[in-house]
Symmetry: C2
Subunit: 202 residues, 2 copies
DNA sequence: TAATTTTAACGACACTGTGTTGATAATACA
DNA sequence: TGTATTATCAACACAGTGTCGTTAAAATTA
């Protein structure tokens, strides 16, 4: 049951999504109107409403599409899901996060706009939730028992998810000065060892 | 040179700011209009424009006021600013963060609305910047030399600032289940020791 | 207290952007 | 080729904005 999509529909939606990214980048999400979007996409304004309810709906569907694609592209290896030793090593990058940075690097122009634009609905929150899932299963693997945690579990999950997301944004804002692998290594180091080098006098 | 403020002006602005918080809490920032705000404040719509340029301007000035008040209320002790030993102890809460949580607790209804409302302009970013300053000076005190850091300095600052902010939001969303002192202690523990209890087999 | 200044209230206005509709033209597909 | 489907276009009512001129109320000053 292959449902064929009218190529005109596909074309129109792509034009609208591309126009949205461009205009957010140029003027910011709040400033732009449906009129602006359709004008940039060289489409009639009424056509917009044949596909999306409003500006927010267009943004939401665009965001979902990209985030779903990200999740689908990150498949943790079976070994990594069970091998605790890999996670314990503070110098060994976590493969999931290497893939995360790599995938973002491929679509970096898109991610940069959607993540660095302040107060853009949905996208940052959506990515944070995805990262929370990764963090949550990572912590569970290392410490299935709450007593092995230094702080309440849900606090720890949100602590690191927000921190990781912020580092991703930092990386994009600075035009990706390091490789995905290096970034994943850094995240692992700061998480396992904290901000300071081990103090021999401690 | 004491500049006297007309009490009518003070009253009007307070009414508008209170109405804004209420309506954000009830309907969300995006949904509400200047009309709604003045109606809730029992003021004429034209009066609004005598004091603020638009809805965003009202939000911005309200946010600035609260954040300035927060900064002013947090005065680090001289000892804390120089005594590295206090910071090194992972079980001793940092006094700055105790005060931060305490101040937020006092105005918790306001902070809860402004911090948990998604995509509210200015406020979260403003608080994050304030926390970044605290984190930055804390890290500088512990590690004035970059070689003593596990990751690049600006990356570490943003990592922890975002993480701390997220924990504050988590605390408010869960209706402050722990005391400010406990929260500050938790932040210190997870920062210095990481998420997992020290492993004797490591 | 009385006079003067400042601010709020009110009604009206043009303007922008929205969401929809009905008719027509263009495109896709069987 | 014929039949859907989709896009275009002009027009419409509507909601919200920002401003203006006038009038009323309140605060400050003499």
């Amino acid at each position: 049951m292959s449902k064929k999509i009218d190529p005109r529909v596909k074309r129109t939606r792509q034009l609208l999504r591309d126009a949205l990214v461009e205009l957010i980048n140029e003027y910011g999400y709040e400033k732009i109107t449906v009129q602006d979007i359709t004008q940039r996409a060289t489409l009639n304004r009424a056509t917009f409403y044949l596909h999306y309810r409003d500006k927010l709906d267009l943004l939401y569907q665009s965001s979902e599409e990209i985030l779903q694609e990200l999740v689908a592209s990150i498949r943790p290896t079976a070994e990594e899901q069970t091998n605790v030793a890999l996670l314990q090593n503070g110098e060994q990058p976590h493969e999931t996060f290497v893939q995360l940075f790599e995938k973002i690097a491929v679509n970096s122009t898109f991610y940069k706009v959607y993540l660095t634009e302040k107060n853009l609905p949905y996208f940052s929150e959506g990515l944070k939730k995805i990262i929370m899932d990764f963090v949550s299963s990572g912590i569970y693997l290392m410490a299935p028992d709450d007593q092995k945690l230094t702080v309440p579990r849900d606090m720890a999950i949100r602590f690191y998810a927000a921190a990781f997301l912020e580092v991703v944004v930092w990386w994009l804002e600075n035009d990706m000065p390091y490789t995905p692998k290096f970034m994943a290594t850094q995240l692992m180091r700061i998480t396992m060892n904290g901000p300071y080098m081990a103090n021999p006098f401690l």
